[in-house]
Symmetry: C2
Subunit: 385 residues, 2 copies
């Protein structure tokens, strides 16, 4: 096990009707900015439940935070915070809204262009507004971590920052609030959580038995519950297991003390920036190809994954590895997310474009060991056709 | 899954040489009281490492905190805190020292006899001194939770309290600091962690797939690494896995959203109070007997436990359950902890005495459903002979 520093102070209130507890969680005299996305929370009752629980506070609203939340949108929210002397933020939505709220929390207290937070990877962040989250889409894990990914539309740059100062104070996870999600968002969320786990698990052995088994337990749960969530949208137990799994997939616990990869994400970010694919679509494309390309480097963990997640324990080792990767692809497709360029109307011509973007962004030594060079990334992308 | 409220703000620094980070973790101007136990930390170098890292602070010491830490000892520490205007506590030791430090942290800021903290189950605790922990014995999980068990020697009462105010700010877990532990303490710690997990896992199904699999992963890790820790005391990977497992066994995570039992602990506390058995010895006695006595109520989870922890998936269900319980007993004995009264020189006469103590303390409806009455406890104790 590698040395590690684990700290996660976010409080989780999980279950039906937990939104009512906002009345105790948000300071009674707060001037609150409620941030949300495209407005689905108004249609499904979440907005009304939140506003009822916040009764008595001075409330402002900022809607319209988009998927892949943009600097351009969020600086408008920062302007509202400054103009209205907001002292508490409440994100109501999925990972994009929560990521955006983290940027607003830090950017509102910064005496500089907030884009410098991304450029300096939060080294210039010394304070942030307190905030909480009401999660409506299990996927990114942003509700219980200190990371945020922001896109600058003007330059098509998509960067991440992390800061201990932007852990949500609390996150409310009510599985019933996810019943009305479109199937595409549910499937994307499942793939997103799955690949988050894989980026922390599918590397090389590190004598970290607990982290491995926790990761495998989360993967098995996604495999079992993912297709059921699509077939039975209002099955509470299924939605609850998915929601808690997606949070634990990226709250720092399974990644503490183990090598991590994240090359699939880096390549995926370029596909989103260049072609507008959903984040999870890019992950479903790249991960199986990456595992096939790097099957030798990841051999020991691939065999463990085959055995413990997919029950593949007998027969030729290479056949077991290939079967485990094929099952992974089947699983992604079973939750509605395609695993080949053709599923998204793309062809081989994307390969040089993505490789050029990786080079331009310095993504030339990715993976747990830095051995995912541009050549390896090119091979991976060619396997996506 | 049941609704839950999970919050664990303790920061964990895990690995070799992490004690050096005390220099950053403890405020530079603090007046620090270092609390410890019987002095083994002086023999094994931990004391010197801690003092070196604290260089520059004003340091006071309080040694001699005993196993099953006592009110009588700890009020002396509280007197030191008040007399010397201590503003930071550092526990260096195992669960007893950390539990005791929690009591000192809360008791030092209380305008009343600190024993009232136990009597009022911490309802009268509104502040506590900040404190950290350097863990030397993986066992109780106290280093990353908000619970504490204190004994009043004068009355032989052993009570617990929990308060959000007594989470350690940080805990340092250096597996190399556990190499020199006596085998008895290692074995006890393994059993203690194992039974902590079982009290949160071995109840009735609650559609909590993540919690179940995390618990099973921790149990499997103890089964694999426990005997190895005794056979290879300075195997870093083994000690690291044990240490992280014991912490996660009782940090609130696997118990969030599921029914809990704790009847084995309640009966065990009486055995310790009456006969001076080590805490873990009482757990190794009671747990297998409890599982046999309540095999019908716990049937579904016992079958799951048999399959997933012990690989017992074939044949008659009752035979699988009995085999899983027998394997559990074998495991306890393999780490040196006896599972029958005779192993501790006790006989059948303890049964009525323990039942009387349970009755005197109101322990008449224990277990996940309250169905562990005095009659059930009597049957359990008779099975320990």
């Amino acid at each position: 096990m590698l040395n590690f520093d684990f700290h996660n102070p976010t409080r989780i209130l999980f279950g039906e009707n937990q939104i009512e507890h906002l009345a105790q969680l948000v300071p009674a005299r707060a001037r609150v900015l409620v941030l949300y996305g495209g407005g689905s929370i108004r249609a499904n009752g979440t907005y009304d439940a939140v506003m009822a629980a916040l009764d008595g506070r001075t409330i402002f609203e900022f809607g319209g935070i988009e998927p892949n939340p943009s600097y351009e949108t969020l600086v408008e929210a920062i302007a509202v915070v400054k103009r209205e002397n907001i002292d508490f933020l409440l994100a109501v939505g999925g990972g994009s809204v929560i990521d955006g709220t983290k940027f607003v929390a830090a950017g509102s207290l910064l005496d500089a262009d907030p884009w410098t937070i991304l450029e300096q990877r939060a080294k210039n962040v010394s304070a942030a507004l307190p905030f909480g989250a009401v999660l409506t889409l299990p996927a990114t894990g942003s509700e219980m971590n200190s990371g945020s990914v922001i896109t600058k539309q003007a330059t098509q740059e998509k960067f991440a920052f992390m800061s201990r100062l932007v852990f949500p104070q609390f996150a409310i996870l009510d599985p019933t609030r996810t019943y009305t999600l479109p199937a595409r968002q549910v499937g994307n969320g499942i793939v997103d959580a799955f690949v988050h786990i894989m980026e922390q698990y599918m590397t090389v052995p590190a004598d970290a038995k607990v982290q491995d088994r926790f990761a495998e337990g989360l993967l098995q749960t996604l495999v079992e519950e993912g297709p059921r969530a699509l077939a039975e949208p209002d099955n509470y137990a299924v939605r609850a297991n998915l929601m808690w799994t997606a949070t634990l997939a990226l709250n720092g616990l399974i990644g503490a003390g183990v090598p991590q990869d994240w090359s699939t994400h880096m390549i995926g970010h370029e596909l989103t920036a260049l072609y507008g694919l959903d984040h999870a679509q890019t992950l479903a494309l790249v991960l199986p190809a990456m595992l096939r390309e790097r099957r030798d480097a990841k051999r020991a963990k691939l065999l463990q994954y085959a055995a413990r997640v997919w029950g593949l324990r007998d027969g030729d080792e290479d056949a077991r590895i290939e079967a485990a990767i094929a099952r992974t692809e089947d699983f992604f497709r079973a939750v509605g997310v395609g695993t080949r360029f053709a599923d998204y109307g793309l062809g081989k011509d994307v390969v040089p474009a993505v490789v050029a973007a990786l080079e331009a962004h310095g993504m030339t030594n990715l993976g747990e060991s830095g051995e995912v060079t541009l050549n390896v990334s090119r091979n991976v992308l060619e396997r996506c056709t």
